[in-house]
């Protein structure tokens, strides 16, 4: 594969987190989340991202054609992003799987069963979260639970909404903390820039 054909768009969320949209699928087997360089062993892309000098990467999430990188370093994404792009291109050009398949019996270090958590979170989303966001034409899709971290995607009126982060942190995350306290975190893997019908659109004030 010619690396020049691979197009990558960076979408920084803040100085710690950035989404990289890749023109080709990176991993088609659901979502994989890596929270340490040890966990990344056997997954070439995750290994390469944790190894970027000066980035102090703390988390990598790969889903479809989306790669989310979380770093501790204060270095701007403008500098780190180039190394991330190079790693993605290099791994895809090699022809090898970018990340290993999710282990069959994944369990968080605490011993929490991700599959059981997934079922409980899915039930909460179906019974409470989605009926609520539906009032604003929104929808929240549970993508996966890994190491007790919930990965979700927002759609409809939530995608690109100016108040999406309020919904996420003050609504969904708070409900998860109460109903499924074993959940350790929540990651929004939505491409909010692609939202075409946000419920609230922003204006400069």
């Amino acid at each position: 594969m010619d690396v020049a054909e691979i197009r990558i768009t960076a979408e920084p969320i803040d100085n710690a987190r950035c989404k990289f949209l890749v023109s080709l699928p990176v991993h088609s087997g659901g979502v994989r989340r890596f929270s340490s360089s040890e966990a990344a062993q056997g997954s070439p892309l995750a290994e390469a991202l944790f190894a970027i000098p000066g980035a102090e990467v703390t988390e990598v999430i790969v889903s479809g054609n989306l790669v989310t990188v979380v770093k501790r370093s204060a270095a701007p994404w403008q500098a780190i992003g180039k190394s991330v792009g190079a790693a993605i291109r290099s791994v895809l050009a090699s022809g090898h799987a970018a990340v290993a398949p999710k282990p069959a019996a994944a369990a968080a270090p605490s011993g929490v069963d991700d599959d059981a958590l997934y079922d409980r979170v899915a039930e909460l989303f179906d019974a409470q979260v989605n009926p609520m966001v539906a009032r604003h034409g929104g929808r929240v899709e549970l993508i996966d639970v890994q190491d007790a971290v919930v990965m979700l995607r927002m759609a409809g009126g939530c995608q690109g909404c100016g108040m999406a982060d309020v919904t996420l942190r003050q609504g969904i995350e708070a409900m998860l903390q109460e109903a499924v306290p074993e959940v350790k975190g929540i990651v929004d893997i939505t491409d909010h820039t692609a939202g075409t019908n946000p419920y609230f659109a922003a204006a400069k004030k």
């Binding site: 197009r7 990558i8 768009t9 960076a10 920084p12 969320i13 803040d14 100085n15 204060a74 701007p76 994404w77 403008q78 992003g81 409470q128 609520m132 966001v133 009032r135 604003h136 929104g138 690109g160 100016g162 108040m163 999406a164 982060d165 309020v166 919904t167 942190r169 003050q170 609504g171 969904i172 708070a174 409900m175 820039t193 692609a194 939202g195 075409t196 019908n197 946000p198 609230f200 659109a201 922003a202 204006a203 400069k204 004030k205």
Partner: protein, 422 residues
């Protein structure tokens, strides 16, 4: 021993804000209890009544009473508003609950251009000569006796919406009619009696700067002084580039900050963020606007502060973190911006129409020194140019060793963007 409760911040976020993520994430980093209040209900408000609240932003006193009722069961340690309207509501709540903040009269003076001009002129702060006129006045007669060039402004709209320069009587009549149309739009006219008036003031020539500050016990602590390298000579006043540090001389910068400080004192602003816009020419600084809120849009991302003593190693604090810390009485880091030059371009509206596509984003991001290109307009959104519009389609951010290099990077990135409008 039980942990002491975390302090609760009441954050007033209008639903049309660009600022939700920046403030919510800053509150998370600071590990404070957060209650977000908006003028419209969240779909989660009933499920999370301690975290989400609806307040009547159109009636600050009523909003203060609502907040008082809420605080009886959920004690509030600080309040902050992120835009012009929310700043007045925050002041009313602060007064009602005895929290750190501005008086309502000071916040209102910052909110309304006519009250502001009147107070500043009365206290000797240099402002353009101004007059307020009703929409029902004899416009040709006004035009005949107005001094030119002049600028017509609504009393309260934000982001230079409705601000139009006129150079002669015929231009005045046309500008007045255009502004009247904006003010008579139903959603604007419903905002109050101020929509029945127009401010007419002298056009002040000269470059414009923006002063970002945090007021503590009436004294401005400068967080950033921005140059605006594109001339803002009208006929409309859509902003583009902000660059910091300013390239004005040290004496000029001191004059500008001194003028800002005099304006803060004149209006009686006492605590919280301020954003001021000033012109500078041969006679010195002129105060054009002073708002009791932080910089608008996504522009705050351009400001980063050294975390200082007690900070998190080499981490940099955001403007929102400083504002929250100040509102809650938490220790503040050194209020010093990082050493590198930084800038933001509010991407100009490329024309009227429906946004169909934006091309060249990756190429724009690849420009050296460019940190990010954020397109905030969504596909299918109607783009409305100034003076009727007030929404930028996006923002470009850059950081570098000098303001000149940052400005060049912003312009280069902008040239790579192509907006397809249908």
């Amino acid at each position: 021993m039980p942990c002491p409760p975390k302090p609760r911040l009441l954050l007033l976020l209008p639903t049309a804000t660009y600022r939700a993520t920046a403030f919510v994430e800053a509150a998370r980093r600071l590990d404070v209890e957060l209650t977000v209040a908006s003028e419209l209900p969240s779909t989660f408000e009933q499920a999370q009544p301690d975290r989400l609240l609806t307040l009547d932003f159109s009636d600050p006193e009523r909003a203060a009473q609502q907040a008082y009722q809420f605080a009886r069961t959920h004690p509030i340690a600080g309040v902050t508003g992120v835009d012009d309207t929310a700043a007045v509501v925050a002041a009313a709540i602060a007064e009602r609950l005895g929290l750190k903040g501005n008086s309502v009269s000071a916040a209102l003076a910052a909110r309304d251009k006519h009250i502001q001009r009147s107070e500043l002129a009365r206290r000797g702060v240099p402002v353009p000569r101004f007059e307020r006129h009703g929409l029902d006045e004899d416009v040709p007669e006004l035009a005949a006796r107005t001094r030119y060039p002049c600028v017509l402004k609504p009393l309260r709209l934000s982001a230079s919406r409705g601000v139009i320069r006129a150079d002669d009587p015929s231009g005045f009549v046309a500008a007045f009619a255009r502004l009247q149309q904006i003010l008579e739009q139903p959603e604007v006219a419903a905002c109050g009696a101020w929509t029945r008036y127009v401010l007419v003031e002298d056009f002040v020539p000269g470059p414009e700067v923006a002063l970002e500050g945090l007021v503590i016990e009436g004294r401005i602590h400068v967080l950033g002084l921005f140059d605006k390298p594109d001339p803002l000579d009208g006929p409309f006043f859509e902003e583009t580039i902000y660059l910091t540090p300013s390239r004005f001389s040290e004496p000029a910068r001191q004059d500008i900050v001194g003028c800002g400080q005099a304006a803060v004192a004149a209006l009686g602003l006492w605590e919280g963020p301020i954003h001021a816009e000033l012109r500078y020419n041969a006679t010195g600084p002129w105060l054009i606007e002073l708002a009791a809120r932080p910089i608008g849009g996504r522009c705050s991302a351009v400001l980063r502060f050294t975390a200082g003593e007690g900070g998190r190693g080499n981490a940099l604090a955001s403007l929102e973190e400083l504002i929250i810390r100040h509102a809650l009485g938490m220790p503040l880091p050194a209020l010093e911006r990082e050493e590198r030059a930084a800038g933001v371009m509010m991407i100009p509206v490329p024309g009227a129409g429906v946004l169909r596509d934006v091309r060249g984003i990756a190429e724009a991001r690849a420009v050296p020194l460019v940190e990010d290109v954020v397109i905030t307009a969504h596909l299918g959104q109607a783009l409305v140019p100034w003076p009727e519009g007030s929404r930028y389609p996006g923002f470009i951010f850059a950081r570098g060793e000098t303001p000149e290099a940052v400005e060049a990077a912003l312009r280069a990135a902008h040239r790579r963007l192509a907006f397809v409008i249908g």
